[in-house]
């Protein structure tokens, strides 16, 4: 089973600041992995590095079999990133945005319409300009773009933020569906109760390094690689984690 994310001592600089100071990270296909850690720990940078947006300047890093140090652009159209920013054109409507980004990713309008329906954006909201949307509605639109594009690796930065109860449940079920369809999910969150219920595995990031990598078997080992030889769909045991 080839790993989807494979980082070895990855260093990323934001300007002159080492946001990642040597990260070892493994994510296997079909896993849902939670990144947690304090503000400024480097969670967002891990996600952006996985998307090929931030260059890895030292160490080894590959995502979906693409060596990021050799060509970090090649992986971009195969991943989906939900960041803090919406990535939407304010003056275009919800439907305009979802269709444009879906087409850019070689998806069909039918995929875009289905995604909007799934996120509860069909109907009246579809023709509203993004500038008029609430934060939660924008979040849903960004998620609809993601769903329509069907990425192989989902990178979600605090996906639950700004959403109502319904929306949060929806995010969880979207992640489960994505994994069922053969994708992989790596997400960062501060809402540990909810997030750990969904995640197969939790990785704690601190100071730009992996502080704790808690594999499903429950062994806490700093910087230890995940058991990549294991079966893809690892049984999550939410009760054990949350209790």
């Amino acid at each position: 089973m080839e790993p989807v994310v494979d980082f070895r001592g990855a260093v990323c600089l934001l300007g002159r600041f080492p946001a990642l100071a040597g990260v070892d990270l493994d994510v296997a296909r079909g896993e849902i992995v939670l990144l947690q850690g304090p503000n400024g720990a480097g969670k967002t940078t891990v996600l952006r590095a996985c998307a090929g947006l931030v260059p890895v300047v030292e160490g080894d890093a590959s995502v979906l079999g693409v060596d990021l140090r050799a060509d970090r652009r090649a992986v971009r159209h195969r991943v989906g990133l939900l960041g803090h920013a919406s990535g939407l054109y304010e003056d275009l409507t919800v439907a305009d945005n979802v269709r444009f980004w879906a087409r850019a990713g070689r998806a069909h309008d039918a995929d875009a319409d289905a995604a909007m329906a799934r996120l509860g954006l069909a109907g009246r909201l579809a023709d509203v300009a993004v500038a008029r949307l609430s934060a939660g509605q924008r979040r849903r639109t960004s998620l609809a773009v993601m769903v329509a594009r069907r990425p192989e690796l989902w990178l979600l930065d605090e996906p639950h933020a700004a959403l109502d109860q319904d929306g949060r449940d929806l995010v969880d079920s979207l992640m489960a569906d994505a994994v069922a369809a053969g994708a992989t999910v790596l997400f960062a969150s501060h809402e540990l109760d909810r997030a750990q219920a969904v995640a197969h595995r939790t990785i704690t990031i601190a100071g730009g390094t992996v502080a704790v990598d808690r594999s499903p078997a429950g062994t806490a080992a700093p910087g230890a690689p995940a058991p990549t030889g294991a079966e893809p769909a690892v049984e999550p045991d939410p009760e054990a984690v949350v209790s």
């Binding site: 971009r76 990133l81 054109y89 275009l92 850019a104 990713g105 300009a129 773009v145």
Partner: protein, 230 residues
């Protein structure tokens, strides 16, 4: 998608230009702000140059292109502010769109806006300055070539200064000296058309074409590098 085939290149360009035109259709920023600005510039020129003394008529080609140039700056700032807002640049990088296609699409979108502007300004100089247009073929050809050049070099510098400190002041400083040849050539070609001495005008047209092709080529090759954050 660093190496796109020609078909994906033009597909992506069409997608981007379609998006930009739709964006203008929904927001009307160019129509309701830049266009009136361009006409206002024509009126201000008349105030500065005393309309009774026939200076306006003689200076029409130069004033026309100067008004186009100033409006181009505004149109560019609008076109690239849209791409820099709220994570859109990241989304573009991740979109899988061919960077050269994005460049061609942005340039085409700007070109369409500029051609609309030039049409209005053309009517404006005829109406306000009393200039009678001659040599329509040369006039139209000059507009097309000059617009292509302005759109190409403008898109190149627009993305270059996007997301940068002090970009609003930097863009004119970088762009205006580079497009000075367009101002000269387009003005001379227009003057030739108005004077019905179009033989000279076609030489200027040739220079405009060379300019446009050069900057289209540079943009296609450089845009991928410029789109990167680092």
């Amino acid at each position: 998608m660093s190496a796109g085939t020609p078909s994906t290149l033009f597909r992506d360009a069409a997608l981007v230009v379609g998006k930009d035109l739709r964006l203008e259709w929904r927001s009307r920023v160019i129509t309701s702000q830049v266009l009136p600005f361009a006409v206002l510039v024509l009126v201000l020129f008349a105030f500065a140059l005393d309309p009774d003394r026939r200076i306006l008529g003689e200076a029409t080609p130069g004033l026309f292109w100067l008004a186009v140039l100033f409006s181009t700056l505004l149109a560019l700032q609008r076109a690239f502010a849209v791409e820099a807002a709220d994570g859109v640049t990241d989304a573009l990088r991740l979109s899988g769109l061919d960077p050269a296609g994005i460049f061609l699409g942005k340039a085409a979108g700007i070109a369409v806006h500029l051609l609309a502007l030039e049409l209005v300004l053309g009517v404006g100089v005829t109406f306000f300055y009393g200039t009678t247009p001659h040599g329509p073929v040369l006039l139209v050809a000059t507009c097309l070539a000059a617009t292509a050049g302005l759109a190409a070099v403008g898109s190149l510098y627009g993305v270059l200064s996007a997301g940068m400190r002090a970009r609003d002041t930097l863009l004119p400083l970088l762009l205006l000296p580079v497009v000075a040849p367009v101002l000269i050539a387009a003005t001379q070609a227009f003057a030739a058309a108005y004077d019905r001495s179009s033989g000279e005008g076609w030489r200027w047209f040739g220079l405009l074409v060379v300019f446009a092709l050069l900057y289209l080529a540079i943009g296609i090759f450089a845009f991928e590098t410029l789109l990167e954050e680092s």
